[in-house]
């Protein structure tokens, strides 16, 4: 039956420029461009998902994808979007699915925080002339350290827990092989090595060819336990237990069988073509004690040589949960805010569950400090980091480092069309279709990721210098370097921020 859904975009082709080369036809996996028998190219608007692939590749700039939101009679309640969802479900009877992070216009607190800079009294530092330390150690720090003097030299007498050293406080967040293509994994792995940071396998296991990047890899152990075996744990620099994901707190995952090809099957250790289902909870974790058991099982399995991280989504009780995790023996807590991306999530959950990462960082950092256990864990924040300013603000709020997911994908070509769950990603990112996957050359992916993080790191160094700091260490949790603007006193309270214009205390 004909759909009631209305096309949302309009494809405009400038016929004076179009040379009928059919590049767009070949590039659109959604088949929105078609060529007729005469070799003339035309389009079908309703198929377009606005991924902009054709626009990017059209050699004559003949194409424009325009917003064509259908006009529905003014109604704040029954918006075009609400109606679209209803039509869709009336047609399919299914759960609405989507990809990427929460797109709703909830407040973005980053845009309500301003950074400080030095003037006169505390001179700023020029990072081009003076050393600027972005190096960060992630892992549990001792409550106190004991130093001995040997031959007039200080020697550390305390046994430190294993640490991850990152050259810049930016890591790549968990994106599983299966949800993303092999090329993405390779790009992330290679960029991490170049950058001196880490990428995260997500719950899809570590493809055999990427074992060589183990020293720059964080491997995940999730509820589905896909691809987990001793070699996998041994290969990694750190292990992350995945409890939750910001885009879909409280629910599990589902990788459809079509995405389970030979390589995914081998890596995940499941049959080709079978659905990979991650249950909502870990069936062996129903308390902090259970979690602690898993943490220590993993530590035992790897002889206490690797930090163990626990990843949760930012939910209302995040601070208390984080405290429990710290006490359960984790070395790192990764918190994923509700703008965190995903390969596939029910739309209603993505758009309505969880809290912003900004509030979560502040709440967790405050709570751990209040309990005097902040040193026991490092906090990695995740969920919608868009630029270096977001990163440095997160650190000032109290995070040790951040995870980039969506930004990394965008660097590789993603245009956030949110069609990840279809497996037809035109950019070769969220797909297992070999024809589409090739579109991401790992050489190009690695280079673009490297460039992005290098650029951000330069900017962070610049901003740090401006604040008169020469090490990222000195900024962590230093909320005095932030001021809020346009926030309610309640929000300011949670964030622990003073209003812009109030003097340094």
């Amino acid at each position: 039956m004909k759909t009631y859904q209305l096309p949302e975009v309009k494809i405009e082709r400038d016929k004076d420029r179009c040379i009928d080369c059919q590049v767009c036809v070949r590039q659109c996996a959604f088949e929105a461009h078609i060529v007729d028998e005469d070799g003339e190219v035309y389009s079908e608007d309703e198929k377009c998902v606005a991924c902009q692939r054709c626009v990017s590749l059209c050699p004559t700039n003949a194409l424009t994808i325009k917003d064509n939101k259908p006009f529905v009679k003014d109604n704040a309640n029954w918006t075009a979007e609400t109606q679209k969802y209803i039509w869709k479900q009336a047609e399919t009877g299914g759960v609405l699915l989507t990809g990427m992070g929460n797109p709703k216009p909830y407040p973005i607190y980053w845009d309500h925080m301003l950074l400080n800079a030095s003037q006169v009294t505390n001179p700023s530092i020029d990072p081009l002339r003076e050393p600027m330390e972005l190096r960060t150690y992630l892992g549990s720090k001792p409550d106190k350290i004991d130093i001995k003097m040997v031959d007039g030299e200080p020697v550390l007498n305390t046994k430190l827990a294993p640490q991850l050293m990152v050259k810049t406080p930016i890591l790549f967040s968990a994106m599983s092989f299966g949800a993303v293509s092999y090329s993405v994994c390779e790009g992330l792995a290679r960029a991490s090595k170049e950058l001196g940071t880490f990428w995260n396998t997500g719950e899809g296991g570590l493809p055999q060819n990427l074992y060589e990047y183990g020293p720059n890899t964080i491997v995940q152990v999730a509820s589905g336990r896909f691809g987990v075996h001793s070699e996998y744990l041994d290969a990694a620099a750190a292990i992350e237990i995945k409890i939750g994901q910001g885009a879909k707190p409280g629910i599990g995952g589902h990788l459809p069988g079509e995405k389970v090809g030979a390589e995914v099957s081998r890596t995940r250790m499941i049959p080709v073509g079978s659905d990979a289902i991650s249950p909502a909870p870990h069936h062996d974790i129903y308390s902090i004690e259970d979690l602690s058991q898993l943490i220590f099982s993993l530590k035992e399995a790897t002889e206490y040589t690797k930090p163990i991280s626990v990843k949760i989504s930012a939910v209302h009780n995040v601070a208390a949960i984080a405290s429990g995790i710290a006490r359960a023996g984790a070395d790192i807590i990764a918190i994923d805010g509700f703008r965190g991306g995903t390969g596939a999530a029910p739309t209603m959950i993505r758009d309505n569950v969880g809290i912003p990462i900004e509030l979560a960082i502040a709440a967790v950092d405050t709570r751990l400090r209040d309990e005097a256990i902040r040193n026991r864990v490092s906090v990695i924040a995740a969920g919608g980091f868009r630029n270096s300013a977001d990163v440095i603000k997160a650190i000032a709020l109290g995070a040790d480092a951040v995870y980039l997911g969506t930004a990394a994908l965008v660097a590789m070509g993603c245009h956030v069309c949110q069609m990840c769950y279809t497996g037809k990603c035109n950019w070769g990112i969220a797909t297992q279709d070999p024809y589409l996957e090739k579109r991401l050359n790992p050489d190009v992916a690695a280079e673009r990721l490297f460039n992005l993080v290098r650029g951000w790191s330069h900017e962070i160094a610049e901003m740090l210098g401006g604040m008169g700091l020469n090490a990222i260490e000195s900024l962590r949790g230093n909320r005095l370097h932030l001021r809020s603007i346009g926030l309610s006193t309640e929000e300011m309270d949670i964030l622990g921020l003073q209003a812009a214009g109030s003097p340094m205390a």
């Binding site: 004076d16 040379i19 059919q22 590049v23 070949r26 050699p59 090739k438 050359n441």
Partner: protein, 144 residues
């Protein structure tokens, strides 16, 4: 010598190499004019072969012992000092002997001009057009 090599695992079958090769070998070198206004139209010297998901671009390999040079009945194809196998359109009469002998199927027939069109490694550019314009670095220009 530097040659163009295809990396089939990165070729996405977009055929932009063909578009830009044609443009580079047109009179105007303007992509739109070259495709819409110039008659006879220039011909791309690179050909993309495809059987999804596999695709790759093929162009003259500039062979070490080029059989086309040996076979060309007019002397239009020669190997220059740099190793490039160059084709002189002036001299070519379209006898298609090179089409018949090239083991790579590289020379293309330009039926309008009755001449052969063959990769010349873009003498007016530092990097051949196909290599520079390939959106996925599936073509490299290097010494091997």
């Amino acid at each position: 010598m530097k040659r163009v090599y295809t990396k089939e695992e990165a070729c996405i079958g977009c055929r932009l190499c063909e578009v830009h090769c044609l443009t580079e070998h047109s009179r105007s070198k303007n992509i739109i004019k070259a495709h819409k206004k110039e008659f006879p139209r220039a011909l791309s010297r690179v050909l993309v072969e495809e059987l999804r998901p596999v695709s790759f671009a093929v162009q003259c390999r500039h062979c070490d012992e080029p059989v086309c040079v040996e076979a060309c009945i007019t002397g239009a194809i020669t190997k220059d000092e740099s190793g490039k196998v160059v084709h002189d359109e002036e001299k070519c009469v379209g006898c298609w002997t090179c089409v018949l002998v090239c083991p790579h199927g590289a020379p293309r027939r330009d039926l309008e001009r009755k001449k052969v069109a063959k990769c010349d490694l873009c003498p007016d550019r530092e990097t051949p057009a196909c290599v520079e314009m390939c959106p996925n670095r599936a073509l490299v220009y290097e010494e091997r």
